[in-house]
Amino acid sequence: MMSRLRSREFWTPAMITGAALLAALILIAVIAPLTMTQAAEQLTPNAALGPSAEHWLGTDDFGRDLLARALVATRLTLLMTAGAAAVSVVSGVVIGLAIWLSGRRVREVALRILETAVAYPSLIFALVIAAVLEPGVSSAVIAIGIAGIPGFARITANLASSVSSSEYVVTARLLGVSPVRIAARHMLPNMAEPLLILSATVFALSLVEISALSFIGLGVQSPQYDFGRLLNDSLGALYTQPVEAVGPSVMIALTGLSVMLIGDALAAHADPRAKRSFFRRVLQRNRTITVPAGDTALVRAENLRISIPGGPQLVKGITLAINPGEVVALVGESGSGKSLTAMAIAGLPSEDLAVEADLLRVGEMNMLAAPDQSRLARDISIVYQDPGTTFNPSLRMGSQLTEVLRTHLGLGGTKARKAIIDALTSVNITEPAHRLRQHPHELSGGMRQRAMIAASIVTSPKLIVADEPTTALDVTVQAEVLRQFRRIHREQGTAMLFISHDLAVVEALCDTILVMKSGEIVERLTSAQLAARDVHHPYTKALLAAIPTLELGPVPATAGVATP
């Protein structure tokens, strides 16, 4: 945390504003009661004056300076809010952890009760407590503090249950570490940050609710006053002296805002999504490129460079070509830039990256410009890695698989459906008409990936870009999917760019193999060269050596025992 405070990206404008506001408010809370109590509480004959140089916000019916009252009230308000927030947070954490530490039955019952309590509006809960206790400062703090406990306890219990199912807690438990020790060493440190962020929210909420209690007359009682009490006083004079409401209103809003900003900034700091920076790629004007007569390649990339704007280069000027009907593999380990390259060629590079090249074309389409979307959709199909998340869970398969046919080929529903049923049949999916009525989660992973392949061939594309299409699949399913790619290539002559980390997979399917390492192509091989292990670059050799291969020699003397 300390090192965080010194880091530059921690101090965003929101954080600075929030922290400065809060510091100012704390300063006012310390100083105002020492210097302004006289002006705030002394009865004078100057009753109900409007704003003037002497009384910036005017005076109330008893001739007391309204600005001074609002500033002096800061101390009581902040102290009460901090007290109530502390009650909610500390008791919430203790109860939440206790629930997590207790047995399964106790835990389930306790969570059910908390769930019910959380649904209950906490202000009304506070009203119940206020109804029982005599109105006053301490009962307001207790009421709001207690009303906030269920929410925080539930958060703590939820966080605890998610942290406790993490593997480092599971393994610690297996080592025989006691539950209390696990809570202290593993859970609290890893829960501290979200709990801190939420404490800011609790503080803001307590402020609003304590002021609300005072406002409706159930909190601070005269002659004491906090922001809510001041606002309540102003309600009676709303028509004659509306400015009286300004002081406490502004103070409540500023206090709430300061804490909200700090909480927001902390949350944003913890969320990597907030740190992204957008880079507006400069697109070339000409959407098509005239291909020279001798150039028969379908895809040509020359000196392709992909970089984080203002940061490192991830793909360092690679050149490649894919001929019509050729199957080209890009092989490498994570971080080699193979997927980035493929997505740039497919015209879908990650939005925060800069893509440059001397030439990048697919057919006549200039991929450095914004080519016609329909043409892109028809000519280039993409098959992604993880079939579990590539389909929209809320739409039926049929409506998703026919998207391109209906949107870009202008086919009607019936025709599109017929086309996709044919394609599904060709990739060996049983009962294709029935599958179209199902949701993605009702299909197995292998089936979803074959459906994705069916959708990718149905437009008869010139190029299929497949990004690790079999990595998430079981080995038998992988073999089946690879067979489909091979069949499509044989029957339709579609060119493919196939991304993989597995040389053995690539060897079976591809004509040309490009080995990538750290953003560069280090070796170009034909499948024959690869099969003969005729490789030269040390990295390719190391990669080949690292891949575990099955050794299946002659049958040994004793056989395995098969259990029926």
Binding site: S166, E167, Y168, V169, V170, T171, A172, L174, L175, G176, V177, R181, R185, H186, P189, N190, E333, S334, G445, D474, V475, T476, V477, Q478, A479, L482, R483, R486, H501, D502, A504, V505, E507, A508, L509, A542, L543, L544, A545, A546, I547, P548, T549, L550, E551, L552, G553, P554, V555, P556, A557, T558, A559, G560, V561, A562, T563
Partner: protein, 300 residues
């Protein structure tokens, strides 16, 4: 994983090259399978690091493990292969005590710890340790390697100097520098983290270590490092290991025996060379012929 295992361990290959390893394998295949002790779950209980018999595990309506009977002989590495949903991970977690058996027996060093209570159960649980798949979530981000490893040690006994020695020894065993003890997980690569996870599992010198897909999340070159490490450790570590993996080639390089699971049942088990070279069950045959590059593999 000691030297008197039924099948001779694959020799630690000094040169990380395919041809070298190939030679080591083809030289070794014969000795083990003839040993009668290799017949699964047949030897006396004392020779088994762990064994389960007629084990059933149900989650609600789902019957995940069906009448599973198998054993991990002391000092051996047994591979557990199968596809996702075959129940191999469930079996691993049942052996560690994370999942509860619905029926059947789970013996660790001849004793059924699922039926034990309190301190004795805690003691027994420490005899089985678990290495999870993802090295990024298996180490607490806010604790140094030293603190993580020290958790296995008795917090009240032993003095700090002995603790430090034990931790240094554990790091040494997985070929990490003793200075690693002072560092936090984010300062290590995936492969180094997996080494730390292995060191942690071996801290207590348990009877059995469950390695659940420990190389699946790693790049191939890092995976090769971990395989070499496991092969190299066999002479110095006494614990037996259940090596769960979907990668049949990796299993062949690390394990002495293999158990094949399919839809919650064990369909085949035996010494690795015999099962791989002469699979009896149709599913095993299909599995082996699906591995790219294997003799039966064909895309046509």
């Amino acid at each position: 994983m000691n030297a008197n295992a039924q099948t001779p361990p694959a020799a630690l290959d000094p040169q990380p090259g395919g041809p070298g390893r190939r030679a080591a394998h083809t030289a070794a295949p014969a000795a083990g399978p003839a040993d009668p002790a290799a017949a699964p779950a047949a030897g006396p209980a004392a020779l088994q690091a762990a064994s389960v018999s007629n084990l059933n595990v149900r989650f609600g309506a789902a019957h995940v493990l069906k009448d599973v009977t198998m054993a991990v002989p002391a000092g051996t590495v047994v591979g557990l292969v199968g596809e996702s949903g075959s129940g191999k991970s469930t079996l691993g977690k049942t052996l560690v005590g994370i999942n509860k058996p619905s029926s059947g027996e789970v013996l660790i060093a001849g004793e059924d710890f699922t039926k034990m209570r309190g301190r004795r159960r805690q003691q027994m649980r420490r005899e089985v340790q678990y290495i999870p798949q993802d090295p990024y979530s298996s180490l607490s981000p806010r604790r140094t390697t030293g603190q993580t490893l020290a958790e296995a040690l008795d917090p009240h006994g032993a003095n700090p100097v002995e603790h430090r020695k034990a931790i240094a020894a554990a790091l040494e065993r997985v070929k990490l520098d003793p200075s690693a003890a002072e560092k936090y997980p984010h300062q290590f690569s995936g492969g180094q983290r997996q080494r730390i996870a292995i060191a942690r599992a071996l801290m207590l010198e348990p009877k059995l270590v469950i390695a659940d897909e420990i190389t699946s999340a790693l790049d191939v070159s890092v995976q090769a490092d971990i395989i070499r490490l496991l092969q190299g450790m066999r002479s110095t570590v006494d614990s037996a290991m259940l090596f769960i993996s979907h990668n049949l080639a990796v299993v062949q390089q690390v394990c002495d025996e293999v158990v094949v699971m399919f839809q919650g049942r064990i369909v085949e088990q035996g010494p690795i060379e015999s099962v791989y070279r002469d699979p009896q069950h149709d599913y095993t045959k299909k599995l082996l012929s699906s591995v790219p590059g294997s003799p039966g593999f064909s895309l046509d």
